[in-house]
Amino acid sequence: MLGITAVAVILATAGCGGPLADGGKPARESAAGHRPRVVATTTVVADLVRQVAGDRAEVDCLMAAGIDPHSYKATPRDAERLLDADLVVASGLHLEGRLATLLERLADRVAVLTVADRLPADRILEAAGGIPDPHVWFDAGLWSLLPMKVATALGEIDPAGAETYAARAEVYSARLREADAEARRRLAAIPAGRRVLVTAHDAFRYFGRAYGIEVVGVQGTSTASEAGLGDINRLVELVVSRGIPAVFVETSVADRNVAAIIEGAAARGHVVRLGGRLYSDSLGPPQSDGGTLEAALATNVETIVAALSDAEAAR
């Protein structure tokens, strides 16, 4: 029996080349010539790279839409994708948990760009305890600094396309700045006293800083640890005492904490609505109302504005 097993292992190992080459993704030297392969860790970063690269590069996203990056665990195929990449783009600031530390080591062999590290240090927020807060993307103004960095990294692996990338980056940055202004304008419509965003975890502090909204999360910046009863009580107290009309859940995070807060507030006679589902650590599937960062930002803003400025709900 063991002999058979050993043979099976050898055969299976030898056979690796076959199923992989035609399995799922095209091999590197296929159809569209020598398109560089870029692997992005999160959907947010993948969107950034796609916007800059357009069709010139093949962009592969490690984490599917709706997956929480904090609790993502790699599979052998993911590891293979990372190794096969010409460029790996990560978000950084420990968003990807243990993957991040390993990506640093991967940098010896594959070009790795950690986007959040390229932002000006003075604009990085600190979470409790002094570690940096990784959720930088929903500050569109801040995010607009990044397309150029991506273009540079792409240009290094694909010098022929450097100009194309730079041009696209320029355009995209401009769009992001526009989206930034638009978001600011729309959110300004919310009455000042109601500008409090309560979510499952602390993913919106950059957003809050950029657009003048106070942000409170049930859990800290990482979803990895469990929320305590003290956290829930604190938020219920806050929601009730401030008369906050709506709280929000996130597409990639379990929503039980938020449900508990709504109920806790209701028990104190304060009706707080579920304001809606926000895109936070993960964008939506392509073509959805959160398929790109711009779309997700607009959708989030729309959801927040609708929920917080709704006079009925505030009663």
Binding site: M63, A64, A65, G66, I67, D68, S71, Y72, K73, T75, R77, D78, G220, S225, E226, A227, G228, L229, G230, D231, I232, N233, R234, V236, E237, T251, S252, V253, A254, D255, R256, N257, A259, A260, I261, E263, G264, A266, A267, R268, G269, S282, P285
Partner: protein
């Protein structure tokens, strides 16, 4: 479906005591589970199988992932139903291994724990890698989300705990007989296999409803620790069950109370630590069976600890 509908006076009284609504809900749910787990756990301890709960707990992961894959839903009842099915299946495998193979009982338990958990992880990994919508947060069941219990969850836990306690009480005589002397029980015509299977099913149910209250790893603690503590204080099975229930309940209350004091303190583990503190105290100071009492006795008798 909130407690608010049950009347404002109660809530005002609660607030007077410094208890918030959420604290009360979590308290109710966790206390019910702590109590039920203590009672059922006492019987598995007496049956000399304290770790079947551990096997059941690890087997639940498959069911959580499977239920999500099968229904695409991730509300508590669906996931718990899946968990219950796989916990029972895990224990069934355990029974079959014991019956049909030469593998020792402890090894069989370890096999069920390791392999079923591995299968669960493989399923979860597959769900994550394929980005199946809503798959996020399933693994949170592992460590529980004690503080996030809603009134419905708590009511579900309370009802099932109560039901379990009622069933245990109803067949307590038979369960104790089988635990004490299975040969005599069989010789006098009691269906020992059936009663054992029933006990296994009860422990599986208790473990499953302990998942949202404490998580897969820590629910084992609720099943093992309070009974061990209770055993220290009494020489009667009946009072041991009552005490184990009370200890479980007390640990739940204490853990919940401590975790509501400040933010950043996970509730489930605190409940376990409270139970462990009760257990430690029981082991040290319990009269007669406690460590101090034994030391004293052996001092008096000149080293002979045997009665």
């Amino acid at each position: 479906m909130t407690l608010a509908t049950f009347g404002q006076p109660a809530l005002i009284a609660m607030a007077g005591l410094g208890l918030t609504y959420n604290t009360l809900v979590v308290l109710g749910g966790v206390a019910a589970v702590g109590c039920g787990a203590g009672v059922v756990g006492s019987l598995t301890l007496l049956r000399k199988r304290p770790l079947v709960g551990d096997a059941a707990a690890h087997a639940t992961l498959v069911g959580v992932a499977g239920a999500f894959l099968a229904t695409g839903r991730r509300d508590l009842p669906t996931l718990l139903a899946g968990a219950a099915v796989s916990a029972v299946a895990g224990l069934l495998v355990l029974v079959l291994l014991r019956r049909f193979t030469r593998t020792r009982e402890d090894a069989a338990t370890a096999i069920v724990i390791g392999v079923s958990f591995g299968l669960g992880l493989a399923l979860l990994g597959g769900i994550t890698a394929r980005g199946i919508p809503g798959g996020g947060g399933l693994e949170r069941f592992l460590l529980g989300q004690t503080a996030a219990l809603t009134a419905r969850d708590a009511a579900l836990l309370a009802v099932i705990s109560l039901l379990t306690i009622v069933i245990v009480t109803a067949v307590l005589k038979e369960l104790l007989l089988v635990a004490f002397d299975p040969a005599f029980a069989a010789a006098t015509g009691w269906p020992v296999g059936l009663l054992d299977a029933g006990l296994m099913a009860l422990i599986a149910v208790m473990v499953v409803i302990g998942l949202p209250a404490a998580g897969a790893v820590l629910v084992t603690a609720l099943v093992v620790i309070p009974p061990v503590a209770a055993r220290q204080w009494t020489d009667r099975a009946g009072s041991m069950l009552v005490l184990a229930g009370l200890f479980g309940l007390t640990a739940a209350v204490a853990g919940v109370a401590v975790s509501s004091l400040r933010s950043g303190l996970a509730t489930g583990p605190l409940v376990v630590l409270a139970a462990a503190a009760i257990c430690l105290a029981s082991v040290v100071i319990a009269p007669r069976r406690g460590w101090l009492a034994r030391r004293l006795r052996s001092r008096i008798r000149g080293g002979d600890d045997q009665p």
